[in-house]
Amino acid sequence: MRCSLQAVALWGKKAPLHSITAIMITDDQQTIVTGSQEGQLCLWNLSPELKISAKELLFGHSASVTCLAKARDFSKQPYVVSAAENGEMCVWNVTNGQRVEKAMLPYRHTAICYYHCSFRMTGEGWLLCCGEYQDVLIIDAKSLAVIHTFISSQSPDWINCLCIVHSMRIQEDSLLVVSVAGELKVWDLSSSINSIQEKQDVYEKESKFLDSLNCRAIRFCTYTERLLLVVFSKCWKVYDYCDFSLLRTEVSRSGQFFAGGEVLAAHRIIIWTEDGHSFIYQLLNSGLSKSIYPADGRVLKETIYPHLLCSTSVQENKGLSFVMGYMNERKEPFYKILFSGEVSGRITLWHIPDVPVSKFDGSPREIPITDTWTLQDNFDKHHTMSIIDHVPGAGTVVVTSSEYVSSLDKLICGCEDGTILITQALNAAKAGLLEGGSLLKDSLPHKVLKGHHQSVTSLLYPHGLSSKLDQSWLLSGDQDSRVILWNIFTEEVLHKFFLEAGPVTSLLMSPENFRLRSDQVICCVCSDHSVALLHLEGKRCLLHARKHLFPVRMIKWHPVENFLIVGCADDSAYIWEIETGTLERHETGERARIILNCCDDSQPLKPEFALPVTSETHKHKSVEQRPSSSCQFGPIPCPGLQVESSWKVADVKPFSGPFNVLPVKTRWSDIGFHILLFDLENLVELLLPTPVCDVDPSNSFYGSEILRRAKSTVEKKTLTLKRNKTASGSLSAEAQAKPVSENPAQGENTAKSLGDNEGIKRQKKIKNSKKMHPKPSRKVDANVTIDTAKLFLSCFLPWGVDKEFDNLCIKHLDILKLQGSVSLGLASNEDHFSLMLPGWDLCNAEMKKDYSKVNLFSKKVLDLSNKYTSTLPNQVGMPRGLENNCDSSQESNTLNTIVYLLNRLFAVNKLVNTPLELACGIDRSFKMESVHNKARIPGNEISNISSFYGYLRNGKSESHIPEADISLLKLISCWRDQSVQVTEAIQAVLLAEVQQHMKTLSKRVGNSQPVSMTEDVHCEMRQILQETEWTREEVELHCTTDTLPLQTPVSPVKHDSDSNSAKFQDTEDMPDRCVLEESESPGKPRHHSWIAKVCSCKLC
C-alpha cells in the first residue's frame, strides 16, 4: 500500500542548487530532463516556440546522477531512466513526474541506450548500459533487473560509450562500443536476442584498436550508412563503417577538449567541446581519392576533409564543464536542437538551421542562442516567498539552519547575522501563502534570540529527541565554533561553550541507551574534523577529539565500554574513551569497516562544512552493501561519495503530527527552503476521534445517530473554544504561562467560561444529552489541527474557477484565498518526492492565457471534477457537515464540513494509492469487498475504506450501498488505472465536493428553517433527502453550464490535452496495471521511508 503525504514547498528567494550532470530532451520536444550532482532530476517545459521554463523537481536519487536515457518507446509511454553514482536506477514518467520503477544495482553506469525490437522481443525492451565495469550490461527496461551481458572475448575492459546502429541495408541492428583503452567492439544485436534470452554467451563480432584514449561519443551516419564518427577528448575521427578504415583525424586545439558529437545529415557533423562550444562541419571527399588510384597498387585510399560551416558558443564562458546533446526531430515541429546544461544549472538551446551554411566569404557563421534559462530565472520571474518572510524584521536575513519543533509548532531559524528567530510555523506559513494572511503579518508572534556574532550553522532541540530532557532547552552552534545553550521560553543564555574548532557543522545527541552518569551527551562535529562532547547538565565539555584527518562521517556510541566511535571519510575509524579522553584505537580498511558496522545505533552526519555529506550517502552505505554481497564486483566503496549531494534535509523529528515543516538544505551554508507536509490520515484521525466505523452496526440507526452527533458536538465545542483561547494568547504570554500550557484542565476551564458567553442553550443541550466527560488529552493542540486543515484546504483548492464560488468558500469554510499558486508536492513512502517549482502552473500551454485561475494543478482537474460530480449519486444523503447546520452555529458547521471534506480526500488519496487487486473487489458487492479487505490488510486499511463507505452511507436509512456509490468508487479506482496523479484526484474531488456543498449551502441560506435537534431524526432525514435531490439537479445544471466555457479554449492542436491523454491512458491500461502490481510491496505500509532517504538519523 502506498501512502502519500501532501506537501507544499515554500521556496526562498534563491533557487536550489542544480549542477547539471546529464541532460536530454524527450522525443516529443516538450520536456527537457536534467540530472544533477545533487541527485535531483528537474523537468523543464519546452514550449513550441522553444522557450524554457522549469516545472518540477524530482527527488529520488541520493547521489549524483550520471546519465539519462529514454526507457520506452516515447510515443507510447513517456518514460525516462536515470542512473546515479551509487548504483541507483529509476524510471520516471516525465509527463506527471511519478517514479515508475526503482532499482539498486552494484554498477555505476555512464551511458544507457534503449533498445527495443518489437517483432523479436517480448516485454518492454532493454536498456544497454556501460560504465565502471567490464563490458555491456543488458537490463530489462521494465523491471530494471539485469538480464545478461554482452561479453568481450578480447581484452575485456570498461566501456566508455556506446551506440546502436540500425542498418536498413543489412537488416541487422548492431551495438558499437568503445572501451576505455580505445578498443572498438561490435556485437550483433537483433540476431542475438534469442541467445541473450536463453542466457548464452554472446561475444563481439569484431573489434579494432582505435589508438586514442578517452572516447566521448560514437555515432553512426544513418543517412549514408557508411560513416562512423568517433569523438575522443583530444581528437575526432571518421571511419568507414564497412571496413573500419580511418578516413580522417582532426586534432583539437590546445586546451580544448571534445565532449561529444552527432551526425546532422549526410556528410555533415556537429562536434561539441567541454567548455560549451560547438562546430558544424561539412565533410568533403577529397578529389584526389576519387580520380587517382594509388600507383603502388594498394586499394583505393579515400580520405575526407572537414570544412567548418557554423559554430556556436555560450555568452560568457566561465570554464565550467558542460553537458551537451543534439536532437533531430523527424516529426512536427521539425526542430533540430543543440542543447547544453552547465554545472551552474543553466540550460542553453540553439536552433540549428536545417541547412547550416557558412558566410559568403566562406568563414564560419555563428548560430545565435535561441533561449537560455536557469532555475533562478523561474524564481525571479515568479514571486517566491520563504517561510520567515513575514516575521517582522526578518525580511532580508538569510536562514542558515532551521529546526521545526512539532510539539510546540515552532519553527526555529538560525540566521546569517547570528540571530535566532522563533516563530509559529503555521501562522508564518499562512501569512505568506494566503491572501488575508497579511493581517497576520503584523501580529505574527515571534522571538529573537541574540547571542551569536556569526551565522548560526546548526540547531538542536534536545527535547524533541528525548522527552527526558528539559523542554526549554535549545542548542545552537555558529560559524565561530561557539555553542550556546538557551532557554527558549525565557530567552536566556544558559551557557556558552567555546570550542575553537571552526564552524560547528552539526549537533547530535547520544541515543537513549547511552548515558554518562545518567545524562545524555551532546556531540558537536566541527569543520576542522574534530568532535566535541558536551554535558548539558554539568555545562562542561567532556572530550574534544581532534585527531581526525578526514571529515567525520559517522558517530557511534558504545554504551557498555563508554566509547565514542568516529568514522571518517577515508574509511578509518577512531575509538575514543570518553572518560579519559584518550584515543583508544585507530583502524583503517577492513577492520574499520567491521567496527563501524558493528553497532547499529550509528548517527551518520553531514559534517563537512563546504559540502555537507548527506545523510543519504550513509543511508545508502548500508543499503548498498547488501546487494553487493552476492555480486562479483564487491562492495561499492561508498566513502568519498561526498560529491554526491549537497542537499541536506535537516534532522527530522519523528513525524507524529498531521503537519510538519521540513527544512531542506540546498546551498552550502544556508537553508534553502522549507516544505510543509500534511498527513491527511493523521489529520482526519485527529479531527475525528470517533470514526464512523466504530459505531456498532447492530445499534438502531436512531440511537447511533444521536450518539455520534452528541460526541461530535462535544468534540467540536472544545476544539473551537480552545482555539479562541490560544489565538488570543501571544507566544510570549504562553511562554510565561508555562510551556506545558496545553494541559486538559486549563483548556476545559477556558472552554467553560467562553462557552457560557457563546450559547447557553447549546451548552445545556450537551450536558443533557451527554456527559461532560473529560476530553481525551491529545498530542496535538486542537487549534493547530483545525488551522492545519484549513491551510491544507486553502492550498489544495483550485481558486478562481468561479469568483462567486471562491467567496462562498471563504465565507463558509472560513478559509482564506491563496495569494498565488503554491508549489505543490507529493511525498510517497517509497522514498521519492516531487515538488513543483515556482511558475509551474504557467508551463501548461493551455493555461497560460487564463490568469484568473490560481493553483489549478492541471487542466485535467476540471475534467475529472466534472466526471466526479456527474457520478455523485443522485439520492446522496446530506454529508455530515450539512446535517447539523440547521441547529448549530456556523463555526461548528464549518468544522463539520472541513472534517467531511478531509475525510473524502483521505479516502480518495487511499483509493488512488490502493493496490489494484484490492481495488478489484470494488466491482463486487460491498460485503465481498469488506471481507476482501479484512483478509488482505491490517486494521488501519479497513477502517479507511469502510469509513469511506461509512460516509457515503451516512444519513441514509437503507443499510445497503446504492449503485451510485459503487460507481463513485469505480470512477476513482478508474482514475488510478489511468495514472491520474494523487494531487489531481484530490483537487478534482475537493473542487467537486466543495462546489456541491456550496450550492447546497447557498440554497439553504435562502429558505433555511431551523429544525430543532430534538426533532425526530427520521423526519429530518426525509426532509433533507428531498432537499438534496432538488439541489442536486440544480447543481448538475449549474456545473455543466459552468464548465462548458472552460473547455472551449482548449486548443485542439495540442496533443497533450485532456481528451487525448485520457484516450491514450485507456489504451495503456494494461501495462499500467502491471506496473502498479509490481511496485506494491505487500504487508505493512512502510511509513515515510522517503524521509529516511533524505535524512540520516535513525529517528525517523
Binding site: Q454, P503, P637, V643
Partner: protein, 289 residues
C-alpha cells in the same frame, strides 16, 4: 579567531589577497603535485615493458605464493599487467599423500578485475586533473572543491577496489570462469579463487566433500564471503557440498603496495586542499558560481 564582523577593512583586504593567492598559485601547485603522484601510481599499474619499446606485451612477473602455517598448497602465479597469464598450483593432500598439480591453459589469461578497475579509476582521476592545467584559472573556491571531490571519489574507489575483495558465495566461485582455466580440469572436489587483498595477491583452494542426501546435518547454504571457512555448505547442480579444508596462500605484490601508498598520500593532499579552501569560507560566504 577574529570574527569576520569585527575584521577591519585592512584585514579583509589581506584575507582576500591570501585567498586569491590560494586560488591562483597554491591550487595549481597542489594539482601538479597530485598529478605527479598519480602518474607515478599509474606507472605501477601499466608496468612498462621489459624492453625499451613503447608498445608490446606488458612485463611478466612471477609470484610465489605461500603461507607460513602450512606448505600443503604452493602456487606460482604469473602476472602480466592486470591479467594472470600463467598459474601453477601444487596441492598436497596428506590423507593419501597425493600431490596434485594444475596449471592454466596456454591460450587463456585471467583478468584480475580489481587491478583493472583500480587502474581505470586512477586514469580517470588523472584525466580530471589534466583538464585543469596551469593555464586554467580557478575563479571560485567551490570550483576547486568540486574538482577535489571528483578526484577523491575516483581515488577512493581505486583504493577500495584493492582493499575490498569481492565477497562471493561458493556457487559463484564454482561458476566463475577461473575454474575452467586449468589444463587438466580441476577435480570436482576442488574450488579455486584468486583475488587482491590490499597489497597481496591471494589464492584460496577449497577442498569439498559431498553431503550424503540422508545426512542428519542441517543443511544451510553459506552466504557470500571473501574467505569461506571449513564447514560452509552450498548446493551445486543437484549436489550438496561442504567445504572440508581451506588453504589460503598469498604473496605481496610490491608495486601494489606503492600504489596504495600513493592513493593515501594523494587523498590526504586533496583533503588538505579542501580544508584550506574551506577556511576562507568562514570569512565570507562565497557563492558557488
Amino acid at each position: 579567531m577574529a570574527t569576520a564582523m569585527a575584521a577591519t577593512a585592512a584585514e579583509r583586504a589581506v584575507l582576500e589577497e591570501e585567498f586569491r593567492w590560494l586560488l591562483h598559485d597554491e591550487v595549481h601547485a597542489v594539482l601538479r603535485q597530485l598529478q605527479d603522484i598519480l602518474k607515478e601510481a599509474s606507472l605501477r599499474f601499466t608496468l612498462p615493458c621489459s624492453g625499451t619499446g613503447t608498445e608490446g606485451p606488458a612485463k611478466q612477473e612471477n609470484f610465489i605464493l605461500g603461507s607460513c602455517s602450512t606448505d600443503q598448497v604452493k602456487g606460482v602465479l604469473t602476472l602480466q599487467g592486470d591479467a594472470l597469464s600463467q598459474a601453477d598450483v601444487n596441492l598436497k593432500i596428506p590423507r593419501n599423500n597425493q600431490l596434485l598439480h594444475f596449471a592454466f591453459r596456454e591460450d587463456k589469461q585471467w583478468k584480475l578485475q580489481q587491478i583493472q578497475d583500480a587502474r581505470n579509476h586512477v586514469s580517470q582521476a588523472i584525466y580530471l586533473l589534466a583538464n585543469r592545467d596551469e593555464s586554467y584559472q580557478f575563479r571560485t573556491g567551490a570550483e576547486v572543491l568540486k574538482l577535489m571531490d571528483a578526484v577523491m571519489l575516483q581515488l577512493t574507489r581505486a583504493r577500495n577496489r584493492l582493499t575490498t575483495p569481492a565477497t562471493l558465495t561458493l556457487p559463484e566461485i564454482a561458476a566463475s570462469g577461473l575454474t575452467r582455466m586449468f589444463a587438466p580440469a580441476l577435480p570436482s572436489d576442488l574450488l579455486v579463487n584468486v583475488y587482491i587483498n590490499l597489497n597481496k595477491l591471494c589464492l584460496t583452494v577449497y577442498q569439498l566433500h559431498a553431503l550424503q542426501p540422508n545426512s542428519t546435518k542441517n543443511f544451510r547454504p553459506a552466504g557470500g564471503a571473501v574467505l569461506h571457512s571449513p564447514g560452509a555448505m552450498f548446493e551445486w547442480g543437484s549436489q550438496r557440498l561442504e567445504v572440508s579444508h581451506v588453504h589460503k596462500v598469498e604473496c605481496v605484490i610490491p608495486w601494489l603496495n606503492d600504489a596504495l601508498v600513493f592513493f593515501t598520500v594523494s587523498l590526504q593532499l586533496c583533503q588538505q586542499l579542501k580544508d584550506k579552501i574551506s577556511v576562507f569560507s568562514s570569512y565570507w560566504s562565497y557563492r558557488p558560481f
